[in-house]
Symmetry: C2
Subunit: 422 residues, 2 copies
């Protein structure tokens, strides 16, 4: 049912003895995480403690958006859009709004092209920002508000929802003044850990996802991975593996064999990059999609500098499309030996062959059998990786919850653009 | 008019003295490239030598596809789709087919979802494969042929074009038997250098791109970068910079501030990864989109392990959308100081601020001012990077034209799947 770590392709790179020696530091890391003096760790108990009325309210609002809009524009950057996008791309398409993401760059082309896709369609907006002053989403929100006001006039207020700080913040004031709907981002949960709050849940609900099932999966995750950080806890085990490999393999590649997991890998890049990349340390996180990239980056992985390790996410094809290789009248393509075989089986064979080949070529490969392409799987995965990543930070002696470099970027941008008082 | 290298953010990392010491090896690399004993280097003289009748035939076929189809399915993997996708995503949308890419993975979900997008629309197909036997596109082509035959019956032949080997190959035989249209991939041009052959040009023409202008840009590139490899040649200069930085900065990050350049960065990842990642060496190529990823990977770039260097592609907003920051009645968002300013200007300010901050944080940054978002720019860029990358390989002492690791993957996959005789 739940995810499994397959460590056979780590052989020769990480030994059971080395892992056993991590047991003490790992337990200490777990305790540090649980104690967490002032650290924003609300995400750890979020799934079990999620208020039922809030879940109903989010599901109801999602339904209302689906019924009144064909497009939901989600305005946010970093942790304010990566989780929702990961979930919406991962889940099979269901009847719901098309969700488009905006305000995650300063590109005028991207803004204009996204608005062009809204022409002639009913639109709703969800702006996601703790402070309401981050430059990219704040600019996009101004442009979109302007556009929506010209289009909907006084009916604007029925079509805009703000997800923001529970007490202060610029967005909250605007929200109250205009009468927009409002959801809160818990104070003790940082951006990259916020996918299971209204930040991620409202767009997923509007897009047709089952957010109750997503939370169920996360609850299962909390039960399995939220306990003591021992080596029997797969999230803790992953943390130990990551900390050990970081010594010789500074590039950490997240891979899958399904395009629907591309955005999930982008979510992982933020989670790991922002949590561990500080003090001149940390693994550089990157993503690859196989077999696609085996015809490009594959050359590098097999034979380039030996500094990569891979985390491969594997999903059970379960109820997915049962496509098989059709016959070809004159089998010119040398593929007749595959006629009638399911694509899913061939995809899996490619995964196992590649894991073995990369391992033999000097690349440690961790395979994660993650379950089916459905909400439950994803909820569990979110919790699993949040826990594993936070524990890796504690093991490596970095604070996994701050992002001083990003804060400095925001301030630099204010100053360079001439913001008064910056 | 043409692209410019801005090296100010390399200060302290690469000196003019070091570059000057590269002059000799660089000249030798240029001569090796020009001599190229048996190396597939047809791409070097392709733009100036491109046959006019072929260009007209490609443009005519593109027009015919546009007139008879709403969707063009391009079936190919690696160099057989990355160039066309880079171009189609880069260019502003024009009236033309929607081009969807298929056969670049073994995912049944991706195949089924792409075919679902074709329902109820007129479809044409371009299958791109030198041998016709590469597993991923060969399987997808079988599935698509089946689907097209059921739909179009004997009219199938009017809707399928094969881009393949000029003399042998499985695809060529099938093509002749079925009466499909056919274009040739020159023998002396490898996959990742093939974007300016029919491999890239036919999909671009069908998508509404001006392939004559694309080739004009490439011709300009050949004139500017195809000559002797001296430090005054920007492509040669980039090769020297890359070879020098490779010693201390093994991760090479391609960045832009425009989502329309995302796929171009993926093309660069193949070009560099496959050309240089061998013999246990080479820079690991990765991509980032700013300012988007400054809110995720940005933390790592600013403060993580010091092993990255950046190549930033900057484009002149030129005739792009003239969006400005609109006013907000009650300026809650602290953004009033930006009211009325063009987004393009703010985006550029962010680029300069970030280059300075990354440089100060220990990241060498090369800025490339590449020109406007149009065909000419892109043609020149393709030629520029192909030359720079090949010269880097020669400087580093690796063969930039083979991909033994990828060939081994293809063979492994045949064997594991039980292909007779493998």
């Amino acid at each position: 049912m739940s995810l499994l770590l397959d460590t056979q392709y780590l052989e020769g790179f990480v030994t059971e003895e080395e892992l056993a020696r991590c047991a003490g530091p790992l337990a200490a890391a777990g305790e540090a995480l649980a104690a967490g003096d002032g650290a924003p760790k609300g995400w750890r108990t979020l799934p079990e403690g999620f208020p039922e009325p809030l879940l109903r309210q989010l599901a109801d609002t999602g339904r209302r958006i689906r019924e009144s809009a064909e497009v939901l524009l989600v305005i946010g950057i970093g942790g304010s859009y990566l989780g929702a996008r990961a979930a919406l791309d991962f889940l099979p398409k269901r009847p719901g709004c098309e969700v488009l993401f905006l305000g995650n760059s300063l590109s005028p082309s991207a803004l204009a092209e996204t608005l062009a896709r809204c022409e002639g369609r009913e639109v709703a907006v969800n702006v996601v920002s703790k402070s309401g002053t981050t430059t990219e989403p704040a600019i996009a929100f101004r442009v979109v508000l302007d556009w929506m006001r010209r289009r909907y006039g006084s009916r604007l207020r029925e079509r805009v929802w703000c997800t923001t700080d529970p007490s202060g913040g610029a967005l909250r004031s605007l929200c109250e003044e205009e009468g927009f709907g409002r959801f809160e981002i818990p104070r003790d949960i940082g951006g990259r850990f916020s996918v299971l709050t209204p930040v991620g849940l409202l767009p997923v609900a509007a897009g047709g996802g089952d957010i109750a099932a997503l939370l169920d999966g996360a609850r299962e995750g909390q039960r399995r991975y939220g306990g003591p950080a021992c080596l029997e806890n797969p999230a803790a085990r992953l943390a130990a593996i990551a900390a050990l490999l970081d010594r010789g393999y500074p590039v950490s590649l997240f891979c899958s064999y399904e395009p629907y997991a591309d955005s999930l890998c982008q979510w992982l890049i933020q989670l790991y990059g922002e949590s561990l990349g500080k003090d001149g340390r940390g693994p550089f996180p990157a993503a690859a999609r196989f077999t696609t990239d085996l015809h490009s980056l594959g050359q590098y992985i097999q034979e380039g500098r030996r500094m990569l390790w891979e985390t491969v996410l594997s999903f059970d094809p379960g109820a997915g499309p049962a496509l098989t290789v059709p016959p070809l009248a004159a089998g010119h393509d040398g593929l007749d030996y595959l006629t009638g075989r399911p694509l899913a089986e061939i995809n899996r064979a490619a995964m196992l062959a590649t894991a073995a080949a990369h391992h033999d070529g000097g690349v440690p490969v961790l395979l994660i059998e993650a379950g089916r392409r459905e909400e439950r799987t994803l909820g569990e995965l979110f919790y699993f990786f949040e826990t594993a990543c936070a524990l890796t930070g504690c093991l490596m002696g970095v604070n996994p919850f701050d992002q001083p470099g990003v804060e400095r970027y925001k301030q630099n941008l204010f100053r360079l653009l001439g913001k008064p008082g910056c």
